[in-house]
Amino acid sequence: MSGFVSTRGQVGFNDLKIPGAWSRKIGKDLYEVFIGPQHPGSGHMRIIIRIDGDVIVEADPDMGYVHRTMEKLGEGREWIKGIPLYERMAIHDACNVTLPYVRAVEQLLGIEAPLRAKYLRVLLCEINRIAAYLYGFGIFGVFVGHSTMYMWPFGDREVWIELADWLTGARLTHSYPVFGGVRRDVPADFTNQLRKAIRYMRKRLEEYRKIYVDNPVIRARLEDVGVIPKNLAIELGITGPNLRASGVLYDVRYNDPYEVYDELDFEIPVFQEGDALARVWQRVEEIKQSLRILEQVADWLDKHPREPILHDRFWKTAPPLHKKIFETEGRAKLVPLYALLKVPKGKAYAKAETARGEITYYVESDGGQKPYRVRIVSASARNAIVFKYILPGHRVMDLPTIYGSIDYFPPEADR
């Protein structure tokens, strides 16, 4: 595998013509091919592979093309301004990626969101999760050349985005959770539309199975490709559905429940095989469980009357106008205190299960209006290493399959 002598600079470039990829000869029967970062299926990321004939002998994931210095930018702005900022790591999973930041700051402030706000957070988190999985399916579908599977999930994702839009006022960048609660209550008739969407999605998943997941052609391409054995998955520290598809039970919602996940009745599917097909099934099953969660949340919201969705610390200073607007429009206005918020000195740590796995935030405050340090470890950053260990031994043809099945999302990894 390793041990070849690199002849960098001695051999002319482009000895091997592959459309869209830059390549050069580096040894006898050995070519180096640069896949990406201009998206011939790699996203804003480059995978450098060395191939012998058609077989990958070495792979190097090369990330960092969309690095935006998120952590440093966060240090220069007030606490609340971090929420729209960190959201931009994975905008289609906005609530999940910002929730641990909000929760860490809440820990430092010593407050907790009211129960209704917790249910609303779970509501948006699961809507985001489904939408993000569908996004992943769409990309995966087009990677393996199945353009129907590209169009369908993107169309169905629109259902969930429409619901999120209705709830929060924005399609993707919701900025929904704030310290001590959430910004809006559910509009009238929202839960009925949500139930319709749930029933629709259940039917759709069965159709996905027929046209894609169980389609013999697709199955032949996915089965036993890119197997991540259980011990390797643990060793590499990968996370999320990829980890669970390799037979490891780890889900933050289960192992370290946050918000109201410990009160909801749902399952954590754990697939044993660890190949690309198992990873797709893993996501299909998880969408089913998310739908189950949403059903319970909708029932809960219907049963309980509207109550304040911001913690008393903020809500008690709200003028009567704020309260009137909350009652009529369901919009919890922010008090000016949010802009000037001083967070007590201390360190906090919070994590959550995003659509791509565990995300962790370490937040440190020096007692000022701005964070002293915010450290983020996102799920995709942890999953990227997989390519180095899984790709060798596969044919180039399998690269898009493996890449798609990992559901790697560069902006989230690069931060």
């Binding site: 729209p84 169309g155 509009p187 009745d265 599917p269 099934w281 922010l334 000016p336």
Partner: protein
């Protein structure tokens, strides 16, 4: 309440007739949608999406309500909302004085809606549309005068309004917008 529980699963087995059955199923579903396709493309600008109340679109200032508190400028995460100093004559005393008024820079705004939510007097509101065109970048930096007017919504002048609703059978469907719906 019942806590979540793990459930081990395996991929469905591949039966002997899988190749036949699987292909047939895939083809059948293809035929089904060939005959009855699900489409909800917005024929823009012939139609335009009438967004729901509460959509975080462009922002308008009601100057009479504004108390010059600068909360909106302070909370803006993108530094899009700025306070500008405008000299004016006090009506009662007739003296010259300078007041701070908020203006918005749409080159920077990320439509997070914090400013609208933080304003203590509801002097700011969102218009429920976002498809607004500017001729050049400089125009996107509004002055106090233009900040008080809802931006021109060209699509609404030419197109017919539609709305997307969730349907149990067909997912998202496009329906004509009825006057008065929220």
């Amino acid at each position: 309440m019942v806590p979540p529980k793990p459930v081990p699963k395996t991929k469905p087995r591949r039966g002997i007739f899988h190749a036949f059955k699987g292909n047939l199923e895939a083809l059948m579903i293809g035929v089904k949608y060939f005959i009855d396709p699900k489409r909800f493309t917005l024929i823009y600008p012939k139609e335009y999406n009438k967004l729901r109340e509460g959509y975080r679109g462009f922002i308008v200032l009601i100057k009479q309500k504004c108390i010059n508190c600068a909360s909106c400028a302070r909370i803006c995460p993108a530094a899009a909302m700025k306070m500008i100093r405008i000299p004016e004559v006090d009506e009662k005393t007739g003296k010259q004085k300078v007041k701070n008024w908020p203006v918005i820079d749409y080159r920077r705004c990320i439509f997070c809606g914090y400013c609208v939510d933080v304003c203590p007097t509801e002097a700011l509101y969102h218009v429920p549309y976002h498809d607004v065109v500017y001729q050049n970048m400089a125009e996107m930096y509004l002055d106090l005068e233009s900040f008080q007017k809802p931006p021109e919504y060209k699509a609404a002048e030419e197109g017919i309004p539609v709305r997307y609703i969730v349907d149990e059978e067909r997912g998202l469907v496009k329906v004509p917008y009825k006057e008065g719906e929220k």
